[in-house]
Symmetry: C2
DNA sequence: GTTCGGTTTAACAATACAGTTAAACAAATG
DNA sequence: CATTTGTTTAACTGTATTGTTAAACCGAAC
């Protein structure tokens, strides 16, 4: 270990650093920050545990890097769709389809993020800024602004039941994310294995938008 | 400490034991099993930390007692309503109203249960049996059986759009529970303080059933 | 007033874990 | 081949944490 004092670790050395971050992602999302062990991360990354500290110094720094990364994986895409000029119906279909696909590939993500947010609520701000690189005051109008216009116009025109943009987003996201957050329980109570759970979520990609749009009929 | 070997701790000595369990409930639901400290539980209960071990021996036993208790707090009421003879519409209104009230009083419960289930998925079975004192095979028909009949009959009669009982339960529970599970994030992104969050959930008690029943219109 | 069960005190053992460090090492670069 | 840079080895520090234990304590029941 030569230059920890002399020169700070190279900001983006790719290989080992990202392998460690990947490993940390796996371990933290499975066990949570408090339950994760630095040694397990090192093992998962296939490196010595000294190297983990070499790149990330402390567990907390590593945890925050992983959290930021996980948050960035989940929210920006959603924000982009909600804020876009697409018609309401298309927004619903895209959100559901894209997010279900994404969550099927990252099953631990919702549980991890919700658990971390409950244990360290101060990270909510950090999460928000990781979405857009901006503070809450900037994200909020981006998320709800366009939507409010659209919903308001549709309600006036009589093509949709009136609903606040907040409820619109919250209801939709709830039905998309919750089944993944509660996946072990859903699987147990419905008697599903992994394959059947996946199949159910695949079916949900078409059923859920229909259901949701039906709720919005005037 | 006299009789730890001789006689096992009295199963229900009320006072101190329940105070410890209450304290453990508070600490575990806030910090999660891995993040909780036995010393903090003792402090919260106002007893010496030796006494916590006297009654519950290990952290894991205490954690399981708390988990069982928390699960029992959340699910049996819901199961009873879904399994009842009440008409669909009444089921929706009761579930929403009762659960929102209950969750407003126990804000950490959803986050805690979801986190624990993700970190220790083997507890899903334990949770199921804590609901009804029975295995999954018994709970499942109790939860979905009556509902399946009702939904099927209504679909035939043309009074409701067809929906599986699984989707019916999952969609409803999602929209009820998720806002609490993601509460810190919801508060941050919508710019709410505790009082406004509560107000929003109170309003939701009437809005959500209307929304949900609208989705079920044929 | 003595006995007894719950409780505290206070100290202890054992381990788990985060984080540090010096030295050796290896592979690429010049 | 000498230098640099990333990596391993291996040992170590310090502390947090779980769990145990013996002895004293204290109030209530007998």
């Amino acid at each position: 270990m030569a230059q920890h004092r002399g020169t700070p670790p190279p900001p983006l050395d790719a290989d080992s650093e990202t392998r460690i971050l990947d490993a940390a992602h796996v371990v933290f999302t499975r066990r949570g920050t408090a339950g994760a062990r630095m040694a397990e991360i090192a093992r998962e990354a296939g490196v010595n545990h000294a190297l983990v500290h070499y790149y990330f110094r402390t567990k907390q720094r590593l945890a925050e890097a992983v959290f930021r990364r996980a948050a960035g994986q989940l929210f920006p895409a959603m924000l982009a769709v909600f804020a876009s000029d697409l018609p309401i119906e298309e927004k619903v279909r895209r959100i559901v389809s894209a997010q279900v696909d994404m969550l099927l590939e990252n099953r631990y993500l919702p549980g991890y993020l919700l658990a971390e947010l409950n244990h360290y609520p101060e990270r909510a701000e950090l999460l928000l800024s990781s979405i857009a690189g901006a503070a809450a005051d900037v994200v909020r109008p981006r998320l709800f602004g366009k939507l409010a216009e659209q919903l308001d116009a549709a309600a006036r025109a009589g093509t949709l039941r009136p609903i606040t943009p907040q409820a619109f987003v919250l209801n939709l996201v709830s039905m998309v994310v919750y089944p993944f957050a509660a996946r072990p329980f859903v699987m147990a109570i419905m008697g599903l294995d992994d394959a059947r759970f996946t199949a159910m979520m695949q079916a949900r990609k078409t059923e859920l938008p229909d259901f949701y749009l039906a709720a919005l009929r005037p």
